[in-house]
């Protein structure tokens, strides 16, 4: 029995952390955030050198065939440095979708390219969680119509995997005719989302026809967002503790005041169990099907709640400086804010848990 990371996983974590510490300092994040397309080629290159794009691509298609827990470890480290790189959709959801529901041709066409960094696929499944602003996609005769919002890892995608109103998945290439793509700008300048508009747009269906793979993508996406929130929260707690150990007021380090100490202790006390919850949720996705969806939801909603608290409390511990752009704390604050809402906010996700347990009918 071993509840925790294996030696290999600890080495993976440390290798990713070391690499990102070198390639992704806050100044670089700042530079990128000023651009229309805020994604960093430099950090993406480093991520590719580590083999991260191929983590979830099966070995027979040129990948590493690793687990969602491995991907969650990487997600945590990316968020820890607010890395402005595609990951959730392009390196996690797209390979899972293609591996689990792609035709042999689709797998052969895309998976090796994903693994070696030649191709990136964005994923648009938000409307299967909840459709906002009248969005939604219908499909007929290998054609899509309608609008998909919050397409994840939107910038620079070579293709899009899109869920229709029935939860069926379709693949649309970026050069398809009658496809309109619109960049959406969120608070979080470290990840990219966009809007896809279809009007009888050519699409290839994935072989999944009952929405089961879409449900798997929601689970995986929520676990990775929870892991992201965990990494950003960890960074914010460490920054609060460091700052309060340096800043003096009233002739004392502010960290020696109980008012400040207790804020930090509350953050740590609520944050620490999240780590175990995220690990378990990722492991359940990999190996315990009966727990996978419930724990993906719990991990997502719980980290959403805890890290909203951490984000504001850490900012408060930094006092006025925390509120400035100078300190840059807001990059983590905003990353956590995005993680909370993407693929369903806490209330939405909890309602799904109620349905999964048969407490209410499916929403």
């Amino acid at each position: 029995m071993d509840f925790g990371l294996s030696q290999d996983q600890q080495m993976l974590r440390d290798a990713v952390a070391r690499c990102l510490a070198d390639t992704c300092p806050l100044d670089h994040v700042r530079e990128c955030a000023e651009l229309d397309n805020p994604l960093s080629d430099k950090v993406l290159g480093a991520v590719q050198d580590l083999g991260i794009p191929g983590m979830l691509v099966p070995e027979e298609h040129g990948g590493l065939g690793m687990t969602l827990l491995d991907a969650a470890i990487v997600a945590e480290q990316l968020a820890y440095v607010v890395a402005p790189v595609p990951f959730l959709a392009s390196h996690v959801l797209a390979p899972i979708a293609l591996s689990e529901a792609g035709s042999e041709e689709q797998k052969a066409q895309w998976l090796p390219k994903i693994a070696n960094g030649e191709a990136r696929i964005a994923v648009a499944i938000s409307e299967t969680v909840e459709a906002r602003d009248g969005a939604g996609v219908s499909s007929a005769d290998r054609k899509l119509s309608g609008t998909a919002l919050f397409c994840l890892d939107f910038e620079g995608a070579d293709a899009y995997i899109v869920a229709d109103a029935g939860g069926r998945l379709h693949l649309v290439t970026a050069d398809a005719l009658k496809l309109e793509t619109i960049r959406l700008t969120t608070i979080d300048r470290t990840r990219s989302v966009g809007e896809l508009r279809f009007e009888q747009t050519e699409a290839e269906p994935l072989v999944d026809d009952n929405g089961a793979t879409t449900a798997r993508l929601r689970d995986a996406g929520r676990v990775i967002l929870a892991a992201d929130s965990l990494g950003a929260g960890q960074a914010m707690i460490e920054k609060a503790v460091d700052y309060s150990g340096q800043r003096e007021q009233f002739g004392r380090l502010i960290g020696s005041f109980q008012a400040v100490k207790h804020m930090c202790a509350e953050m740590a006390a609520r944050h620490e169990p999240c780590r175990s919850l995220v690990w378990y949720a990722a492991h359940a996705f990999d190996s315990i099907p009966e727990d996978a969806s419930i724990f993906a939801c719990h991990a997502k909603s719980h980290t959403g709640e805890v890290h909203r608290f951490v984000a504001r409390t850490s900012t408060e511990v930094h006092g006025g400086m925390g509120f400035t752009d100078l300190m840059g704390l807001h990059y983590w604050f905003k990353r956590i804010g995005f993680d909370r809402q993407a693929l369903g906010g806490p209330e939405t996700v909890r309602a799904e848990v109620a349905a999964l347990q048969g407490w209410i009918k499916a929403p």
Binding site: M1, D2, F3, G4, L5, S6, L69, I237, V241, S244, G245, F250, G251, R252, L253, G255, S256, F257, Q258, K261, H262, C264, A265, E266, A268, A269, R270, E272, P273, C274, R275, S276, L277, W279, Y280, H283, D286, S287, I288, F295, H298, S301, H302, E305, P346, E347, R350, A351, V353, A354, W359, I360
Partner: protein, 416 residues
């Protein structure tokens, strides 16, 4: 991640299940939490010790089962008894706190004399630590013990002595070296509650019940050899057991059980034509608590796994008391809200649910948030030991009048 216990443990789990199935008819009702175990509870305890299902790692020469420590087997035992709804071994302060202390720091004679009857439930203990003036700052305790004719002569008062009424014996912190620094002037004594000069008064709490007592000592004479550890080392001796108490207060299995009872309540309790769980706001709160409890369960698995590897629990363990007590309290609060006005019924009222247990829990759990190291003390521990934040500057000694005045002046200046 490997959550399998392995074939050896699967076999062991099956043995435990078989035992429970064959013997559960002998178990005392689990609801009775009387301080002094009933004769059938004593018999049950004996059976459990003989089979290694309680007092498992305590050496056989002291009345235990004498098995090698095996965290997974201990965990399996507690999981299986909990799952079957059958009471496991006795858990009282003697067994949870005194026995581990004696095993670690007692003399051979003390171990021989006290451990076995305590394990068997023949001797009931109470704990004399807190005083009216020494709560969070326990080391400032004032109950004194001077030496006279080969006896300690004890004077003073203890508070929060649960089970003092029923107890045969007390383990008690007293000040034996009044001139030593406060942490080095304390001794850990054990003596009979029948000793002349001890008076126990029930302490009624906000629940309406007297779950605790105040215990007064007037010239109580205790032979000088009834000390655990050396004179002046009582603080170290007591700290060996405080860790055990914090462990007791934060069992994720207990949270899961409470949550399950709450889920059942909300599926049965009706508001008009609907069940409480059909109310989306109440249901959302329930789900948020379920997520919290799930996180604590995973955190518990991580702590277990760390201890299997011989690692310390680290932050995962430091936060358990604070979080568990808080979540338990929120579970009770939601139960009361789900019942609404019905939730206020108490004192054996008609229409009361479950004997008023939810209200009692809601109030008593507030006591648990305060007791065993208040939430604020827990936060100091998390901040100072876990996050290595700077300690509070020490206040000036009262006798150092000049410095104190300077400090006050400085403080005024600072806040102006």
């Amino acid at each position: 991640m490997d959550l399998d216990y392995g074939p050896e443990y699967d076999t062991f789990r099956q043995q435990v299940r078989d035992f429970i199935e064959a013997h559960s008819h002998l178990a005392p009702p689990s609801a009775t939490r009387a301080a002094r175990p009933s004769p059938e509870a004593v018999q049950w305890q004996k059976l459990l010790i003989e089979n290694g299902y309680t007092a498992r790692t305590i050496p056989a020469e002291y009345g235990g089962y004498g098995a090698e420590p095996d965290i997974l087997k201990s965990r399996i035992i507690s999981e299986e008894f909990s799952r079957a709804g059958v009471p496991g071994g006795l858990t009282n302060q003697g067994i949870s706190m005194l026995v581990p202390t004696l095993l670690e720091l007692g003399t051979e004679e003390q171990k021989q004399r006290w451990i076995e009857p305590t394990l068997k439930g023949e001797i009931v203990w109470c704990q004399g630590y807190s005083e009216p003036g020494a709560g969070s700052d326990l080391a400032s305790l004032k109950t004194s013990a001077r030496v006279e004719d080969g006896n300690f002569v004890i004077n003073g008062q203890k508070i929060w002595t649960s089970t003092a009424k029923q107890a045969d014996m007390i383990f008690c912190l007293v000040r034996t070296e009044p001139d030593a620094p406060k942490h080095r002037g304390i001794s850990y004594l054990i003596f009979s509650m029948d000793t002349p000069g001890i008076e126990v008064r029930p302490l009624k709490t906000m629940t309406g019940h007297a779950e605790f007592n105040e215990t007064f000592f007037t010239d109580v004479r205790v032979p000088v050899d009834q000390i655990v550890g050396a004179r002046g080392q009582g603080w170290l001796v007591a700290n060996a057991t405080l860790g055990h108490e914090r462990g007791m207060l934060g069992d994720p299995g207990a949270l899961e059980n409470r949550l399950q009872v709450l889920i059942t309540l909300m599926q049965e309790e009706r508001i008009g034509q609907a069940r409480a769980i059909d109310n989306p706001v109440l249901r959302d709160r329930l789900l948020a608590l379920q997520a919290e409890v799930s996180a604590m369960k995973c955190n518990g698995m991580r702590i277990l796994s760390n201890s299997l590897k011989g690692e310390s629990g680290g932050m995962a363990k430091l936060i358990v008391k604070l979080q568990s007590c808080e979540i338990a309290h929120q579970i009770s609060a939601l139960a009361i809200d789900a019942m609404g006005e019905i939730g206020t019924l108490y004192h054996g009222s008609p229409r009361e649910r479950e004997g008023g247990a939810w209200q009692w829990n809601y109030m008593f759990q507030l006591g648990l948030i305060i007791g065993g190291g208040t939430a604020q003390i827990q936060k100091n521990i998390i901040a100072e030991r876990g996050l290595e934040m700077p300690r509070e500057p020490k206040l000036a000694k009262v006798s150092d009048a000049a410095k104190a005045t300077a400090d006050i002046a400085h403080h005024k200046q600072g806040s102006a």
